[in-house]
């Protein structure tokens, strides 16, 4: 641990004033701009989620009209997907830590990086602008399925343009990361000496780069269709709504791995640090990221098993869906094996990482159920899918996001949070989360369709359990966020390397100086996680 008492200027203090933030070229500041916006949108989206749960507490009308409910879940989905979860880990922690992990001082194209943030901001304005302009936010579901999305009078155009702009922002982030990884690794660091988070970002970036344009053009077609009044998916001119679904999912399935892979990268960082030993199966984890990214392109059809797709196509998509589960399971087993013979320091970030594994298991295994043709015929578009998607996205990526926040908090702010409060928030969050979403899986098996404003009386009990869970979840999240907020302002000073990590970001000061490193960072001998204090295995 370097205890450097020489005064230095942190990146916070290097320049002053709001302008210096909004036009910054420093990757760390861009990351923080993203962080604050993303947390804001998460809170907006989450509040909409709470509203839905309140409405669903009883069958029949409780607080909003059906039309409003439909707008709420659409806006909830759009915010959570495009404004929160897709940018969450790459744009915040990727931006902040990729250069640090690689031992460089910025991403390859700092200007482009700022530009992606601005695109993100513009996209966000469009998404929220639907609240004010036109006939309110879209009421189509986040999937914007034609032809309903073409017929409805709500402001679909603006929501779709928002998604388009946000997609562009995501493409540019991906592009930036790929070039950064290819060109800016510190001398001596080959691909196989890169930390696993960098690997996962590399895989993610390729998905962002190659899948996003497809949805871009698809959404443009929806816009054109609404503007000219006729279009490519309109059945009355021979168009095919099922083709729209193909185009949509060609992007949106790979997109779920944009959400999941960086989260897996985080977990692969946290576990070795807290087990104080090298990661088990470095190459298996690294290459399985690439495998997931690659196979992930070929399974989009599993969202369309009931859409009228042909039997042979369903057959192939189903088999490929199952194959994509294999590289994920390889990762899970390697993580567990990394705990074996470690010297485990049970601390908040590790708890989040392990909770990620637990939740993601439930999410992933329910995903397998969805992938089976017969089962999916029954479960498609029911609450089972809603349960699945929250388990993987919130229980998985969401937990990893909060885990990363707790892991790197001392590095970003140079302060330490109150661990007792953090652990309490964690425990209640885990419990509340499961009470909130497990009932949805049961409801789905019982046959309750999703996007339902009202439901049959037999579904009441589990809906009420779920709503109660949502209250626990809110409370614990508020505690979690307030705790971090307080710590950032007046927490105790944290050491430069509080967890004893050996990846390069821990070799600089907390918070890092403007140029990240003031001397050449040293790559650990024998792999990025080869802890010098641990016994070697033979």
């Amino acid at each position: 641990m370097t205890v450097d008492t020489l005064p230095y200027t942190t990146f916070y203090k290097a320049k002053k004033g709001i302008i210096s933030w909004l036009f910054t070229l420093d990757h760390k500041r861009v990351a923080l701009l993203y962080l604050y916006s993303i947390i804001t949108f998460f809170l907006v989206g989450a509040s909409l989620g709470i509203l839905m749960r309140l409405e669903l507490f009883h069958p029949g009308k409780d607080i909003v009209e059906p039309h409003t409910y439909n707008q709420i879940f659409t806006l909830h989905g759009v915010i959570m997907i495009f404004l929160f979860i897709i940018p969450s880990i790459p744009a915040v922690f990727g931006n902040f830590f990729l250069p640090l992990l690689l031992g460089t001082d910025d991403v390859a194209f700092p200007r482009l990086n700022l530009f992606s943030f601005w695109l993100y901001a513009i996209g966000a304005l469009f998404a929220l602008g639907t609240l004010v302009f036109g006939d309110g936010p879209a009421d189509t579901g986040w999937t914007f399925y034609a032809p309903y999305s073409v017929r409805t009078g709500t402001n679909v155009t603006m929501s779709v343009v928002a998604a388009f702009v946000l997609g562009f922002s995501s493409i540019l982030t991906g592009l930036n990361f790929i070039v950064t990884i290819h060109r800016l690794r510190t001398p001596g660091m080959g691909f196989n000496q890169m930390p696993l988070f960098a690997w996962s970002l590399y895989a993610t970036s390729w998905i962002q780069l190659l899948a996003t344009p497809v949805i871009g053009i698809t959404l443009l077609m929806i816009v054109a269709e609404r503007v000219f009044g006729v279009g490519l998916f309109d059945p009355s001119i021979g168009g095919d709504p099922v083709l729209y679904q193909h185009m949509f999912w060609i992007y949106s399935h790979p997109a779920v791995y944009i959400m999941a892979l960086p989260a897996m990268g985080i977990v692969s960082e946290i576990i070795p640090t807290f087990a104080q030993r090298t990661i088990f199966g470095y190459k298996a984890i690294a290459y399985s990221s690439m495998a997931i990214a690659f196979i992930g392109y070929f399974v989009w059809g599993h969202h369309m098993f009931t859409s009228g797709m042909s039997g042979p196509a369903a057959y192939i998509f189903s088999i490929l869906t199952f194959l994509v589960a294999i590289p994920t399971s390889i990762k899970v087993f390697n993580w567990i094996a990394t705990l074996y013979k470690g010297s485990i320091n049970i601390d908040t970030p590790l708890l989040f990482a392990l909770a990620f594994i637990f939740n993601f298991l439930i999410g992933g295994l329910t995903g397998l159920v969805n992938g089976a043709l017969a089962a999916d015929i029954h479960l498609h578009d029911t609450y089972f899918v809603v349960g699945h998607l929250h388990y993987v996205m919130f229980g998985g990526t969401g937990f990893a996001f909060f885990g990363a926040l707790h892991y790197w908090f001392p590095k970003i702010w140079g302060k330490m949070y109150n661990k007792k409060v953090a652990n309490t928030a964690f425990a209640t969050l885990l419990i509340g989360f499961n009470i909130l979403y497990f009932p949805m899986i049961i409801l789905g098996i019982m046959g309750m369709p999703r996007r339902y404003y009202d439901y049959l009386p037999e579904f009441t009990f589990w809906n009420q359990v779920s709503t109660v869970g949502s209250w626990i979840t809110v409370s614990s999240l508020i505690v979690l966020i307030v705790n971090l907020f307080v710590a950032a302002r007046k927490g105790k000073k944290a050491p430069d390397n509080p967890w004893g990590g050996i990846t390069l970001e821990w070799q600089t000061k907390s918070p890092p100086p403007l140029e990240n490193f003031d001397k050449m960072p040293k790559i650990p001998e024998g792999g990025p996680y080869n802890y010098p204090n641990a016994k070697s295995s033979n």
């Binding site: 059906p66 039309h67 439909n70 006939d135 009421d139 579901g141 399925y145 032809p147 309903y148 017929r151 409805t152 009078g153 709500t154 059945p235 168009g239 709504p241 087990a275 104080q276 030993r277 088990f280 199966g281 009931t306 009228g308 039997g311 369903a314 199952f322 194959l323 294999i326 390889i330 094996a337 705990l339 074996y340 013979k341 470690g342 010297s343 485990i344 594994i357 298991l361 295994l365 329910t366 397998l368 159920v369 992938g371 089976a372 043709l373 017969a374 089962a375 999916d376 015929i377 029954h378 498609h380 578009d381 029911t382 046959g447 369709p449 999703r450 996007r451 080869n530 802890y531 295995s537």
Partner: protein, 299 residues
């Protein structure tokens, strides 16, 4: 006995995967928690660097692969029979439109709910008049999207007497969650008498019959309350604000306006209501005048 011929296959694939899932979930979680205690910093102050093991990697690649292939297989086995209906299946047309199901039988009978004979293959030919819907019978474990412009179908055999819910499982707009109906499985002879029952519309206003048939009442009420569209109560002669080409104007609703509205639903929009929802229905001039005739009687 299962409610339909598909229940067994679907449930088997579902519970087969769930069982394996529970095994892995419990197993992995237990091992994780055990390691957490066994190798905590207190109990095991010095860690051991283990780089990995290709034997293990291969084991935990191959075993899940075999398991998922099994899962795939049972999924396919349960699904395959859904693809092709037997030739002797009885065909019924199922029409989905915003927010109503209609079932048309070969003899011209049409009904809001589905009634089928027991133990007989039924083939539903699915037609959508507007947007996507999905005909979902949870008890039968069966679901198929209804796509405008495409002739898709689904088939099944009702194997147990009783009444089961039909739900719409594909989001289709405002009242998606109210697009409900039911399927009743009855004895064969009971079905035949039901099918032969003629619907007696002779003392009903022809306009009303037409409007029921076209599902006007899923959006419009006759008692003055607001649903999706304006109520028909006292429409004729009502003065209201409409929006044409983005400009507001005040008109008095009369027969001509209604006729125009039915022929070109998108040409105008009543202020305060969502535009774009009122469907364009293939109505002849005669039918339109019947409808107008009836609408004028709703006071």
């Amino acid at each position: 006995m299962y409610a339909s011929n598909f229940v067994e296959g679907v449930d088997f694939s579902l519970y087969f995967i769930l069982a394996i899932s529970v095994f892995f979930l419990v197993g992995i979680t237990a091992v994780m928690i055990y390691f957490l205690f066994r190798y905590s910093k207190k109990r095991n102050p010095v860690a051991t660097n283990i780089e990995g093991s290709w034997t293990l990697e291969i084991i935990w690649t191959v075993v899940p692969t075999i398991l998922v292939l099994l899962m795939f297989w049972y999924g396919w086995v349960g699904y395959r029979p859904m693809l092709t209906a037997p030739d002797d299946a009885m065909e019924i047309q199922a029409v989905g439109q915003m927010w109503k199901w209609t079932f048309n039988y070969d003899n011209g009978k049409s009904s809001d709910t589905l009634v089928i004979p027991i133990d007989k293959p039924i083939k539903l030919n699915l037609v959508s008049k507007d947007v996507l819907h999905s005909l979902y019978i949870p008890a039968f474990r069966l679901k198929q999207d209804v796509v405008p412009g495409k002739d898709f179908s689904m088939w099944f055999i009702g194997q147990k007497l009783g009444r089961y819910d039909i739900l719409c499982a594909e989001y289709c707009g405002q009242l998606h969650s109210y697009m409900l109906s039911s399927v009743t499985v009855v004895e064969n002879d009971k079905f035949n008498t039901w099918l032969a029952e003629k619907q007696d519309n002779s003392n009903e206003h022809p306009g009303l019959t037409l409007m029921k048939k076209n599902a006007c009442f899923s959006c419009h009420t006759t008692d003055g309350s607001r649903l999706v569209g304006p109520s028909f109560k006292g429409v004729v002669g009502r003065s209201e604000t409409i929006i044409v080409d983005g400009k507001e104007k005040t008109i008095t609703v009369d027969a001509d306006f209604i006729k125009h509205k039915l022929q070109n639903p998108l040409s105008s929009n009543v202020k305060g209501f969502q535009s774009g929802l009122m469907p364009k229905l293939p109505l002849s001039d005669d039918e339109i005048s019947h409808i107008i005739d009836y609408v004028s009687t709703i006071k």
